[in-house]
């Protein structure tokens, strides 16, 4: 695999690093494990980003890489190339909440625009249609590992959350995982991706990803 150039696209499932590394100190995100093992990995993933943001980067960079790993995220997100502070914005419906009114990126008119957009204009069916069209286009390329998050990594995340009995309302903000996965699951995913890079074979099987040890709850969900 030496010399192979690899690109990764997606959202937090390919980008998020545990915020408190003193508490979660014995794991590594799957994308880092893959990079350490095979080298030559460029990661275009961005937490909270939309499917389109990844697709745009995929189209822009496709020719520069031999293999691509694309994590297809959920509908409902908007990519705004130039926000209030001239930074790009990855917007969700929750950015329309009043607590973002004075946020440097989402504040000013953006928060109001998002609130009205999600309240009156957002058309879920249209969003899902575009997502399917992008998915179809990506799948025409044989050198892409495409993971629909809803049908793959999100299942692990939900299963583990349920297992840890995490209250999404009160504890949701205190997650301390790499890519929303336990360290063991990050390891398994990295191994599966490396196997795909070597053999072009990848079968997602939820049972390959071990249930975490209940005693590790405090490491992944901060008080």
């Amino acid at each position: 695999m030496a010399g192979i150039k690899i690109a990764i696209y997606g959202d937090s499932f390919a980008h998020l690093i545990a915020p408190n590394l003193i508490i979660n100190n014995d794991g590594t995100p799957w994308f880092q494990l893959v990079s350490d093992a095979v080298g030559g990995v460029a990661n275009y993933a961005m937490s909270s980003s939309s499917f389109y943001y990844s697709y745009m980067n995929f189209k822009k960079n496709y020719i520069n890489y031999d293999k691509h790993i694309f994590l297809g995220t959920f509908p409902g997100r908007r990519y705004i190339p130039i926000g209030a502070t001239k930074n790009e914005i990855h917007a969700h419906i929750f950015h329309s909440r009043p607590e973002f009114k004075d946020h440097p990126d989402f504040g000013n008119k953006i928060n109001q625009a998002l609130s009205l957009y999600y309240g009156y204009l957002y058309n879920e069916e249209e969003d899902e249609t575009y997502l399917k069209l992008m998915e179809k286009d990506i799948l025409t390329h044989s050198n892409v590992l495409y993971l629909n998050l809803e049908k793959t990594l999100q299942l692990i995340y939900h299963r583990d959350k349920l297992y840890f009995d995490v209250d999404g309302q009160t504890e949701g903000q205190h997650e301390n995982m790499h890519c929303h996965l336990t360290n063991e699951s990050n390891k398994v995913l990295a191994e599966e991706v490396i196997q795909w890079l070597q053999t072009d074979k990848f079968n997602f099987d939820l049972h390959k990803y071990p249930l975490p040890n209940i005693s590790s709850r405090g490491k992944y969900w901060l008080k």
Partner: protein
């Protein structure tokens, strides 16, 4: 032959004042060549046409899709379903169409702060790709065809705004005829050619007929 038309005003707009301009638009004249069902809606987006096409295509022998201009939104949950970015400058017109002030503000802020033209263009290309692989289907992109005729004629007549138009499908009657002929040729041979040079500029004296 059962024919369906999908698209925006280029497939649905008739003169407001029929006394001044009594000629039929190309899509009405097409009735001579088959049984035409017209799903085109003025101001609608390509996404809307695509949805209509997916829903109805199998009922027809031939489907004609006019790929509308950019900057349009389909909002099925509001009183007015098809809005474009002219709402920024002409908000009163849309309030008269049944939208309330907050809804109009939603569109204005959307176009000013959220709308991503590059994303819209990419999504358009994906829909076009799908449509171009469909059998018995003619896809015509309006920005690259009839909208050029429209702009050329508008400039010829010296009009900047489209709100006072009294045309069929935003074009002179002669251009409607030429477009009709190219559609009929496609129905008969499967070949469609758009050549801007075939669309001659109308007589300037006809201005009274086309603009109120």
């Amino acid at each position: 032959m059962k024919i369906a038309i999908y698209g925006d005003s280029f497939g649905s707009m008739r003169p407001i004042n029929k006394t001044l301009n009594s000629k039929l638009p190309w899509f009405d004249l097409l009735q001579k060549y088959g049984h035409v069902t017209n799903y085109a809606v003025g101001g609608s987006s390509l996404y809307y046409s695509y949805q209509m096409f997916l829903e109805h295509k199998n009922k027809y022998d031939k489907n004609i899709i006019l790929g509308s201009l950019l900057d349009r939104l389909y909002t099925p949950n509001l009183a007015w379903h098809h809005v474009n970015n002219s709402i920024i400058d002409f908000s009163n017109i849309w309030i008269n169409h049944g939208l309330n002030k907050e809804e109009v503000n939603a569109f204005i802020l959307y176009y000013k702060h959220i709308h991503n033209k590059m994303e819209e263009t990419h999504m358009r290309l994906l829909i076009e790709k799908e449509l171009r692989t469909e059998s018995n289907t003619l896809y015509i992109s309006m920005p690259e065809t009839l909208n050029i005729v429209h702009i050329k004629e508008k400039e010829h007549f010296g009009y900047k705004s489209s709100w006072t138009e009294n045309m069929s499908a935003h074009m002179s009657n002669e251009s409607n005829q030429i477009f009709l002929e190219s559609i009929v040729k496609w129905l008969e041979t499967g070949e469609f050619i758009f050549d801007i040079n075939n669309y001659k500029l109308p007589n300037k004296q006809d201005k009274y007929m086309y603009y109120i």
